[in-house]
Symmetry: C2
């Protein structure tokens, strides 16, 4: 066995989203790579966001936020929103904005998918906090729908690996979940 122990700050590529908030009445967007589904029913999302950021102010102020999924063609604007803080720079004009069911969760027109969340709970951790939100609306571009469902290839999402800080696109459909494993014969 050739296993080596490396530093503890390593994980595989994660999907990149733009978290939208309204801070003191102004729309703001922050790039977030630490996001996952959290609860099945009702559907919830959890985001890990650094405590020093501007975005938590908007989440706490309104109890709402949005999770927008950028395509790879938005990579420059997406990265910009992770470099520049809303505390110093007005990011409300970086994207065209629309609203769904909530009037304090700005959604990004250029993103193929935008998700509206109502804040459920904040879990403070040493350097970050977990923002748990219930999904109350999912908005997609009509153009990315295929057979009545969003087409993952058309969404063309971005992934981020850390600590090497590289963006990746999605590869190919390589298998089917709750299906391929039925073929396993142990002791093969």
């Amino acid at each position: 066995m050739n296993k080596k122990q490396i530093g503890n700050n390593f994980f595989i590529p994660m999907p990149v989203v733009l978290v939208g908030t309204q801070v003191s009445g102004n729309a703001n967007f922050m790039t977030v790579g630490w996001v996952a589904r959290a609860n099945a029913n009702p559907p919830m999302i959890v985001c890990g966001i650094g405590n020093h950021h501007y975005t938590p102010k908007g989440i706490e102020e309104n109890g709402t936020f949005s999770v927008n999924i950028p395509s790879t063609d938005l990579i420059v604007k997406t990265d910009y929103c992770g470099i520049v803080s809303g505390s110093k720079t007005d990011k409300s004009k970086v994207f065209d904005i629309f609203y769904g069911n909530l009037n304090t969760a700005p959604l990004i027109k250029e993103c193929p998918v935008s998700i509206e969340c109502k804040l459920v709970q904040i879990t403070p951790l040493p350097t970050n906090s977990l923002y748990l939100g219930e999904i109350v609306g999912v908005w997609v571009d009509g153009e990315i729908m295929a057979d009545g469902k969003p087409d993952i290839n058309s969404i063309d999402p971005i992934f981020l690996s850390m600590p090497d800080n590289r963006y990746w696109n999605l590869g190919e459909h390589i298998g089917d979940a709750w299906s391929d494993g039925k073929n396993l014969k142990l002791n093969d």
Copy 2:
């Protein structure tokens, strides 16, 4: 604008891991697609796991778990661990196992990366719970190291999209974080 509202149970592809536990002294592995980094320092991971599963018993019993990252060549065994419950089937022989710093967090030899976690907190939600763990050890195959760092292409991770339940591989390196956005000129 051509935005449509769809059902709330939609999200983009997420990385797939195998969560390892020891239940009543026996190793068990479960496929988990709802996982993200949670805290920067100390490094933490959060997993959303259905409350009806067998894995939570092991996490609660020992206060430890592992997060193993399978390559695409392990897709059949990975999917199998998401179909079959440890409550009915002994999954301890599906993989070769090794241990790192914790003696109750079984690690998978065939996975290029295995992460040991100490349980920090459980957040119960309606159908799932969030298991927050501090990373206390990261073990990688020597063969996947390049320039002293794990090579993401060699890890060759699996992603899962839901609710269409498809597995995907990673695509190409398309940009650099905290870098590409420096080139943004607004009003271009």
